[in-house]
Symmetry: D3
Subunit: 236 residues, 6 copies
């Protein structure tokens, strides 16, 4: 019944290749099916002004899409400025990754996680969070190896998956053909412990019940479990 | 225990004054405690390009804050452009209001709902949705009275409330002192029927369990019920 | 003969409600007939760079209109940037208010007067100056009460009114139907003493004689006298 | 007593050289003492959208300053956008020139008058109006010679001069050293007939009486008379 | 003597992988040593306004760098707008690729070549041209295969290489350590036939003789020969 | 054969008038035939941040065109921002002028050379470089006369000329009718010694051989020789 013939609760194939760029302190290419996102983590000794002399660190994120990451070419944001959608997504990624960080242990430095979508087939913000965590983990490993950070500031894994109601059925990990048809869909950001960080459920031209929401959350827990396993394999 | 001495499940005083401006086809001033939002609905015969000759209507929203709606004066967005936060909020308001509309019945016209925060004490996006629905209802009443729209395009009430975990307790309808301290908070947009339209839960420097989430949703259902009653009183 | 049936030298009803917002150090809602402007005065300890360590204070103003303050909805300036008209108006308000201030007595601090038009029916810049003066007066009262300012920096009242030639007759305090038809109109900013601060007379598709100008100035003196009386009543 | 040793009612030397650029339909370099402005008039067959199929013409103006037209180099507006002051000035020039035009006789075309300040020593907006009129006159002469316009759309001369109170004395045609010290100054735009088009009087840190205003207007009439004579000599 | 131990006339290893993205009509990842550029070619049936109904096609290019393509993270252009350097580079790429196209044979359509630098180690604009040609070739192959274009509009190969004077010696294909030290460097765009399309030689804090220039051009011819061979291998 | 009837290797008439504005430390109006550029050099004691406390000076350039410098009026860049072409040109002018400067001898100060095109007939960037050098020379003369700079930081003359292939013939110093038709054209920046600083050759819809390039460089050497002679005459 799904365009991809997947089972309702079946994730797309996940692959996470680490250290894919030469300069970034941490990096990976995450592929969730045909959605490919390059994630890099860059360490900077300066923090934003509101944190100066606070002793606290900061993690922030920026998100972009190459113009031909999509079926039809989009206008380049460097020419037109970031859309509201882009800003919304990068704020979500930043908040999600900060949830997994002890900012005291990180110390007064900033890590910027750049998530650039090379190819898009739905779920780019979730892939960015899951891959962004890996890039962050590797960058912090480098800080710890260099002795710049003593106790590990990473509290737990953070990963994200989308779920939605497609053709009347609850499905896990929507691809683009499903996402563009689903009346209800949501993004679920969770810790390795399954505790929740962000829930964003949204209906366009539709509504949903609390029962449906609970079903979707069950699916999300299953999906995040598989993503966390993939993260573990990638960084070990 | 709450700074305002309210019970955990107690809303702030709600007041909705309608027809507060002279020109808008629908308008109200909604006050949720010390949060005051002026909502106007403006009808335009032209729809956005992607809907031309589709026979479908459109409802969109814009959101703004007066510079001194807050404790300390903010920079005027007209001088600096809309922030990511502003864009995120107005996209949410628009999606939420569209959930309550039959776009075929509305016909090929656009209604723009402007939500301008005169005074802010937390929960401005929720007040904007709840008040925006009233302005929209009044504008559509005018269309129906004029015979421009025959069958009522409004499917149900739409209203929104925030809930969060403050000082370890789940609380309903956060004001600013609570909002700025809460580790977890969320916005719940519901129909009059209690079916869900949007759920946005977010933790900053914290996480939450599914049990906590369910408690917050119970609170939200109670709150939205009271808001819908206030909407009914206002437009009757 | 006037659309509102007013006499040629008759002002619209003036009302000034003070302390209308919770946070601003001074505020009022001024209504000149159907023109409604919310004025707030915000105190900031920092002055613009060109005044650093000068011992002099500064008063500046910003002006905005809600998108549906007018008959037909205007584009939101936060999305498009401030128009030339907006910038011209806020520069005028700032200059006018500074004329009534002893900047040495104010001391090295800045007061920003925000004038936001809630509903527009002509004469918004004049109402902004007259109401802005009230907000400024209240903010300075607060500074004096707190002992931050010792001798009163306010030299005199400042108020403004428009006059013009409508249907061949000189009229006082133009409303929108008159303003949009008048070939000649002007804005007159005066002190409580009737001394002049700004005169801006302008003809679009027309011209005027010095005699006509003198007649308009007589009307303006009368109008400003009534506005100053209303200011006095409001702040007493 | 004046820095330039001029009499109180003495203008700076005026020179207007016509046809100074190769491509513009009308052009002149106007020099009012050390203030030099290059004015060009460009004819375009298209009118702004609000005039389409109205049969009416339009005259508009744009104003700029070369970065080193002034004592110290200013930032280039092409890099930073037009300032509020620039927009205010070009709106004034446009309104002033339109006052001298019969837009029916001009026919449905637009003339853009560009006023670029090559060197600034006070009074640049007045020189722009006076020189802009000459460029406009020459461009319209070309239209008439070509038979594109039958009856002359120019109703009268339009010229402008500044006056102010410097060191306690009313003076005509302020240069920069006077302008930067004057507590009161104004710009007066008049027709050849001495009828008024625009009066903009402004006090910064000062005020003025109606008697003083009348004295300044007497000076302005004298000055505009001399400017109109210079225009006549230039275009004959 | 070269940091990379290459011979003076030795290119970096070239690799061109084709069809690397799913949606673009043509694409490749070109690697010139550690410089990696993703090139996509997107076909659009609409041409820019100045070519409407001309029967002529258009090829244009856009260029970007991921923020962490470089040693230290750069600011994201989507947040700050394209720099002058970026605009200059994309204009060069566009002109270069158009030199190899018969715009009549292409027919009235536009192909946009996006060159996004994934990792930068000098010579990104040259790699963009060389890789951009491959993407363009593949996109045009698709047009021809579909019968949308009958006769091949590609006249010849187009490829580019940089040369410069490093440590007093003429060297081929500068990497970043050389580029940042070279007093003279240039970019040479050539056809497969060795005819020249663009020469951009530039000295910063230095100058060069015609003899030196000729030596560099000899090197460039050698380098472009190797690049054209790599292009041939890639598209065959 | 040339539209202007010049010989293939004949320059347009060159005139350089110095000290044409009152405030700039150095200035000239350069006329190359009908191309007229006003060049000013402005000295600033502050250097850009990357040179603070380096002891090194900086020379930079900005370029602009008056809207009616051209056959048909262009949009004013102050309203629309600088085009890519403008930025490319001003970067070239700056690099070229820096090639003639000993930045140690200049000392830690910045000189900004503004090149504003009053009238354009092809070759505006070359005229800007040649005239910009004169303005720079005069400004540095002033610094030396004032004793602010001891040893002359100017190493040699810098001048520029365009050459191209027009109607199949190599020609020197293209004017606009030639430039708009030429398939190949280039800009050559040289020192007084004939050593090269920049070479920018470009073909649009065409290509060129190395022999053709050598012929154009011979022409350029001849042209620059004449420009340097004109510079010498102007500053002596």
């Amino acid at each position: 019944m799904r365009p991809s013939s997947r089972d309702l609760d079946q994730m797309r194939t996940i692959s996470i290749e680490t250290n894919v760029t030469r300069y970034a302190e941490g990096s990976c290419m995450i592929k969730c099916g045909e959605t490919h996102v390059l994630c890099t983590a860059s360490i900077d000794d300066r923090v934003p002004p509101f944190l100066k002399n606070s002793g606290l660190g900061w993690v922030t994120a920026e998100y972009g899409m190459l113009p031909r990451a999509t079926h039809t070419r989009m206008r380049r944001e460097a020419k037109n400025g970031q859309s509201g959608r882009t800003q919304e997504i990068q704020r979500l990624i930043g908040r999600s990754l900060r949830a997994g960080i002890d900012r005291v242990a990180l110390g007064e430095r900033q890590i910027t996680v750049d998530c650039d979508v090379i190819q898009a087939d739905g779920g780019t913000r979730c892939a960015s969070i899951t891959g962004g965590w890996v890039a962050l983990r590797l960058a912090i490993n480098a800080l710890m190896k260099a002795g710049d950070v003593i106790s590990d500031p990473m509290l737990d894994h953070v990963a994200a998956v989308s779920c939605g109601i497609y053709a009347g059925q609850p499905v896990l990990d929507l691809d683009y053909p499903e996402d563009s048809e689903a009346g209800v869909d949501g993004n679920f950001v969770m810790m390795g412990s399954s505790r929740l960080v962000e829930v964003q459920m949204s209906a366009e031209g539709s509504t949903f019940s609390r029962d449906e929401m609970n079903t979707l959350m069950d699916l999300a827990e299953k999906g995040v479990g598989e993503l966390v396993a993939a993260q573990k394999a990638a960084v070990s």
